[in-house]
């Protein structure tokens, strides 16, 4: 065991990148949840799945806009991420060992899956049937969900694959951002479907899923602090403890809400246990703030 030494300059990845990480997590998380809801085999989950695919579309569209804006005056060279324009050595750029390189391509592929699935859901809502037959829709969704899992997690890996303090001192950021993104997406869907009678069946199930994701997130937050502490850079987190407190509050809100729904299901939905539940709006907003705060704490503490 040795203490890490860092003499690097900060890359000044700030607000654009923070909100890219936030929306990418929500978009990818929503797509994964839509796929899982569809796989439940219960037709009562289909309205919620449809909303999941629809909401992942705008959240995805904003991602390349944020990434391009982050390039500043070189924004018009955004496509250099994919095409190497080196004179005499032009060709496609793909470095499997560079998360940023892989991530750009993954975002393009994910954009395709999201666009098709959102259009399919939109058409399904309007005329009762989408463009893709259900027999093909599921494998299509599974492929899209695999890419979505990558999108939700690679942002954390990208930070770790550097020499920055905190980021490079831990290997949990990929998993942490994935769990957090799923939790945030579940909260967002709960927020969107709470007043939709046709989708209300999935509300409790989403809260329950959020509870599982939050357990994972909490465990990974603990591992994050252990690994960063072992590297000797824990002091950098101290100024950002208020943000960590918001992140943990979001996790706690998810767990309390999930517990209330599990107990309610166990008792057949009795009204007395339903009273244990916190208000969906409050919890969902708290969770979403927690998702944002977690990413902000990680991003800013290293810089």
């Amino acid at each position: 065991m040795y203490l890490a030494e860092h003499f690097v300059q900060p890359p000044q990845w700030t607000w654009y990148i923070l909100f890219y990480f936030f929306f990418a997590g929500l978009a990818a998380g929503a797509y994964v949840l839509g796929t899982l809801l569809r796989f439940s085999g219960d037709p009562r989950d289909e309205p919620a799945a449809s909303i999941a695919f629809l909401v992942s579309f705008p959240a995805t569209v904003i991602c390349p806009v944020l990434l391009t804006a982050d390039l500043g005056v070189s924004w018009w060279k955004f496509w250099h991420m994919m095409v190497d324009v080196t004179p005499g050595d032009t060709g496609l750029n793909f470095k499997y060992w560079s998360p940023m390189s892989v991530g750009v391509w993954a975002l393009v592929v994910f954009g395709f899956f999201v666009t098709v699935s959102a259009f399919d859901a939109w058409l399904g809502n309007r005329r009762g049937a989408g463009i893709i037959p259900m027999v093909l829709n599921r494998p299509f969704n599974v492929l899209g969900a695999v890419v979505a899992i990558f999108i939700a997690s690679y942002t954390g890996v990208l930070l770790s694959v550097s020499n920055q303090p905190v980021w490079s001192d831990t290997w949990v950021l990929g998993g942490l951002f994935l769990a957090s993104g799923l939790s945030g997406a579940a909260a967002l869907l709960a927020l969107l479907i709470r007043n939709r009678p046709d989708a209300s069946f999935s509300l409790g199930r989403l809260h329950q899923a959020d509870g599982y994701f939050s357990v994972l997130e909490l465990a990974l937050i603990i591992v994050f602090f252990i690994t960063v502490g072992a590297a000797g850079t824990l002091a950098r987190e101290v100024p950002w403890l208020p943000l960590w407190a918001i992140a943990v509050a979001g996790v706690a809100g998810s767990l309390v809400e999930a517990r209330g729904h599990v107990r309610m299901q166990a008792t057949g939905g009795s009204g007395t246990v339903a009273g244990v539940r916190l208000d969906t709006v409050v919890v969902s907003i708290l969770v979403l703030l927690g998702v944002l705060a977690l990413r902000a704490a990680v991003i800013f503490s290293a810089q």
Partner: protein, 266 residues
């Protein structure tokens, strides 16, 4: 010096034991490369008013002052360590490893060079460089650092900083010749009782070897250089990062399937 030839490896040997902190290297670098420099600032913590390497400072003379709190005695006064810092042109370069655009290349002189027309300002190299060498130029929106005077080398000229150094602290030449000279120099210092003198980046322990390597008068950390144990490439976290994400994904999908499992229609 002999003719500069493409295909040969060139570099710097910076002997900090003879650096006098005159900053002629900084001035020559700015002059040749037409760097405007940053606005003057009073840092108030040393005689150094450059601060750090960045987009406008491709050479930076570090002043490391070991001034004792107590009154000094004869021969035990202030200790001044000076080092003209620069891009190390690492054999295994972190910046090259992570650059997604292919803007960072190795030249025919085996130096590391950022192509300004290819770089799109993503700043991944800034996050990766363990020496804090690369800076962003806000006017061009691209990453900048020492080019080892690529244009001068192509014209058969040695880099401006080495040309200007009055004490031969900065030596330029074929890497093999510089390494031999460094071995002779450190042996001479050791024979004179200066046992703390050590070479940094001469061998492959640090990023596979540095084209711009140093003779230091203290341990690397004192100069803001990572020691061999900490000289690690960003890709070391690829496997761990993705593996953690994969395990999390499996557990999360299981959790989702449990939460969404089919229940009775009642």
């Amino acid at each position: 010096m002999a003719t500069i030839k493409a295909g040969e490896t060139y570099g710097f040997f910076t002997d900090t034991s003879v650096c006098i902190g005159c900053k002629a290297c900084e001035v020559a670098c700015k002059e040749w490369n037409q760097l405007q420099g940053d606005s003057p600032s009073f840092l108030a913590d040393s005689f150094d008013n450059t601060g750090s390497l960045d987009a406008q400072n491709w050479r930076h003379v570090k002043f490391i002052e070991h001034v004792p709190d107590q009154s000094s005695t004869a021969g035990n006064g202030a200790a001044w360590l000076m080092m003209s810092d620069v891009c190390k042109h690492c054999k295994h370069a972190s910046c090259m490893e992570v650059c997604p655009t292919g803007a960072i290349i190795r030249t025919e002189f085996n130096t590391v060079f950022i192509q300004q027309d290819v770089c799109n300002g993503c700043r991944n190299c800034v996050a990766a460089c363990p020496y804090g060498v690369i800076g962003m130029n806000q006017q061009t929106g691209t990453a900048h650092k020492c080019t080892l005077c690529y244009d001068r080398l192509q014209g058969g000229l040695e880099p401006a900083c080495a040309k200007a150094c009055p004490t031969q602290s900065i030596q330029f030449g074929p890497l093999a010749e510089l390494q031999q000279a460094a071995d002779v120099r450190v042996a001479a210092l050791h024979s004179q009782g200066v046992t703390q003198a050590q070479l940094y980046g001469r061998d492959d322990k640090v990023y596979g070897g540095l084209n711009a390597f140093f003779l230091l008068m203290d341990k690397p950390e004192t100069y803001g250089l990572p020691n061999a144990e900490n000289a690690t490439l960003p890709s070391r976290n690829d496997v761990g990062g993705y593996l953690t994400a994969a395990v999390t994904a499996v557990l999360a999908v299981i959790g989702g399937l449990v939460a969404f499992r089919r229940r009775g229609m009642g």
